[in-house]
C-alpha cells in the first residue's frame, strides 16, 4: 500500500491518535505510589491529632479517597491514584489542622475563663476588705 494513496482524512486521524496518546499518557507509577504513601502518613497524623473526634467528616473523606487511590493503584490507573492521593492528603491535613485549632481554642477559652475567675475572686476579696 502506497503511503501517498492514503486518504488525507485517514492520515489526519492517525496524527490525532498520536497526539491524543501523547497528551493522555499515564503518569509514572513511582510518583503515584509516593503520593499515596505521603497521604497515608497525613491520615495517620490527623488521627493522632484527634481528628476522629474533632474533624470526622474531613477524616472520613480522606480515608475514602485513600481507599479509592489504593484501588486505582491496584488497577494500574496511576493518574487517578495520584490525583486521589493528593486530594486525600489535602483532606487529612485539613482534618489535622481542624483538630489542632479545636484543641487550641478550647485551651484558650479555658485559660481565659481561669483568668476571669481569678479576677472575680480578687475583686471579691478586695470588696470584702473595704
Amino acid at each position: 500500500m502506497d503511503m501517498n494513496s492514503l486518504h488525507p482524512l485517514v492520515r489526519v486521524g492517525a496524527a490525532c491518535a498520536v497526539l491524543a496518546l501523547a497528551a493522555c499518557a499515564s503518569p509514572e507509577k513511582t510518583p503515584a505510589v509516593a503520593a499515596v504513601a505521603v497521604s497515608h502518613n497525613a491520615v495517620d497524623n490527623a488521627v493522632s491529632a484527634g481528628a476522629p473526634a474533632l474533624a470526622p467528616a474531613e477524616l472520613s473523606s480522606a480515608r475514602e479517597k485513600m481507599m479509592r487511590a489504593n484501588q486505582a493503584l491496584a488497577a494500574k490507573d496511576y493518574k487517578t491514584a495520584r490525583a486521589l492521593a493528593i486530594e486525600a492528603q489535602a483532606d487529612a491535613k485539613l482534618a489535622q489542622s481542624k483538630a489542632d485549632s479545636a484543641k487550641s481554642t478550647e485551651a484558650a477559652n479555658q485559660i481565659d475563663a481561669d483568668v476571669q475567675a481569678l479576677r472575680d475572686q480578687i475583686d471579691r476579696a478586695n470588696s470584702d476588705q473595704r
Binding site: V12, A15, I86, I111
Partner: protein, 313 residues
C-alpha cells in the same frame, strides 16, 4: 510540494479539531469559584499572614495550578480536582491560623494570669502590712494613753500626799502651839487661859509674857483661817461688881486689840467681860483669887461657831 502542502493542511485540521474539543470546557467550575472566594477571604485575614504564611503559600500554589488548568482548558474533572485541593489547603491555612492564634492567646492569658496573681499577692501583702501598721499604731496609742493615765494617777497621788503632808504639818504645828499655850480641850473648843500674872496689876496692859502668848495664838489663827476666837475676861470677887465687870471687859479688849495688831482680822475676834462670874476657884485665898483673875480665849473648832457659855454654876 503538493504532498507537503497536504500534510500541513492535515496538521492544521487536526489542531482545529483539538481546539474544538477543548473549546467546550468552561474557564471555571463551581469548585474553582468557591476556591477563589475562599482565597480572597483568607487573603483578607490578617491572622493568616501572621500565623500561617507557609500554609497560605501552599494553598496559593494549589489555586494557581487550578487556575492554570482552567486557562489551559483542561478537563472539567482535572480542574475540579485541583480546585478541590486548593480549597482544602486554604481551609487548612485558616485552621492553622486559628490554632496558632489560640495558642498565642493561651500564652498571653498565662502571662495575664501570672500578672494578676502577682498583683493579688502584692495587694494581699500590702493589706497585711497596713493592718499590722494600724495595729501597731493602735497599740502605741493605747500604751501612750496608759502611760499618761499612770502619770496622772502618780501626780494625783503626789498632790494628795503633799496635801496630806501639809495638813499633817499644820496640824502638828497647831498641836505644838496649843501645848505651849497649855490649851485645854472643852466642849466649846480649845481654851487658852492668860493668867493674872500676864497683866499689870489691876490694869489691862499685857506684860511681855502675856504678849508672847497672844503672839502664839495669833500665829495659830493666821494658820487656821477657818477658826474664830471668843476672848472672855474674868475677875475675882474683890471690889465692886461694876469695877470688876469693866476690868474684865478691858482686859478682854486688850487681848483682842493685841491679836488685831498682829494681823488677825477683827471680825474673827469676839470679846466679852464676865466680871466676877464663872470663877475657876473659890475667892477665899489670895492664890485662888489670882486664878480667878484671868482672860480665857476660846478657839473655835475648825469651821464652827463657838457655842455660848453654859449657865452659871
Amino acid at each position: 510540494m503538493i504532498i507537503r502542502f497536504h500534510f500541513l493542511k492535515s496538521l492544521a485540521f487536526a489542531g482545529a479539531l483539538l481546539l474544538a474539543a477543548c473549546s467546550t470546557v468552561p474557564t471555571s467550575t463551581p469548585t474553582l469559584d468557591e476556591a477563589r472566594a475562599d482565597f480572597v477571604a483568607a487573603n483578607n485575614n490578617p491572622q493568616i499572614a501572621t500565623y500561617a504564611s507557609l500554609e497560605f503559600k501552599q494553598a496559593s500554589d494549589a489555586l494557581d495550578a487550578a487556575n492554570r488548568a482552567a486557562a489551559q482548558h483542561e478537563s472539567l474533572d482535572a480542574i475540579d480536582r485541583l480546585a478541590y485541593v486548593a480549597k482544602q489547603r486554604i481551609a487548612t491555612a485558616q485552621e492553622v491560623a486559628r490554632a496558632k492564634s489560640a495558642q498565642a492567646e493561651v500564652a498571653n492569658a498565662a502571662r495575664e494570669r501570672d500578672k494578676v496573681q502577682a498583683e493579688a499577692r502584692a495587694a494581699e501583702s500590702d493589706r497585711a502590712r497596713r493592718d499590722a501598721e494600724a495595729q501597731a499604731a493602735a497599740a502605741q496609742t493605747q500604751a501612750a494613753n496608759a502611760q499618761a493615765q499612770a502619770q496622772d494617777a502618780q501626780m494625783q497621788a503626789q498632790a494628795a500626799q503633799q496635801q496630806a503632808a501639809m495638813l499633817a504639818e499644820r496640824s502638828a504645828r497647831l498641836e505644838a502651839l496649843l501645848v505651849e499655850l497649855h490649851a485645854q480641850k472643852t466642849e466649846r473648843g480649845m481654851v487658852v487661859t492668860i493668867g493674872d500674872v500676864l497683866f499689870a496689876t489691876d490694869r489691862a496692859d499685857l506684860t511681855p509674857g502675856g504678849m508672847a502668848n497672844v503672839r502664839k495664838l495669833a500665829e495659830v489663827m493666821m494658820q487656821n483661817p477657818d477658826r474664830t476666837v471668843s476672848v472672855e475676861g474674868f475677875t475675882d470677887s474683890t471690889g465692886s461688881s461694876a469695877h470688876n465687870l469693866q476690868l474684865s471687859e478691858r482686859r478682854a479688849a486688850a487681848v483682842a486689840q493685841a491679836l488685831t495688831s498682829m494681823g488677825v482680822p477683827r471680825e474673827r475676834v469676839a470679846t466679852r467681860g464676865y466680871g466676877e462670874a464663872y470663877p475657876v476657884a473659890s475667892n477665899d485665898t489670895g492664890a485662888n483669887r489670882q486664878l480667878n483673875r484671868r482672860v480665857e480665849i476660846v478657839l473655835s473648832n475648825a469651821g464652827q461657831t463657838i457655842p455660848p457659855r453654859a449657865a452659871q454654876r
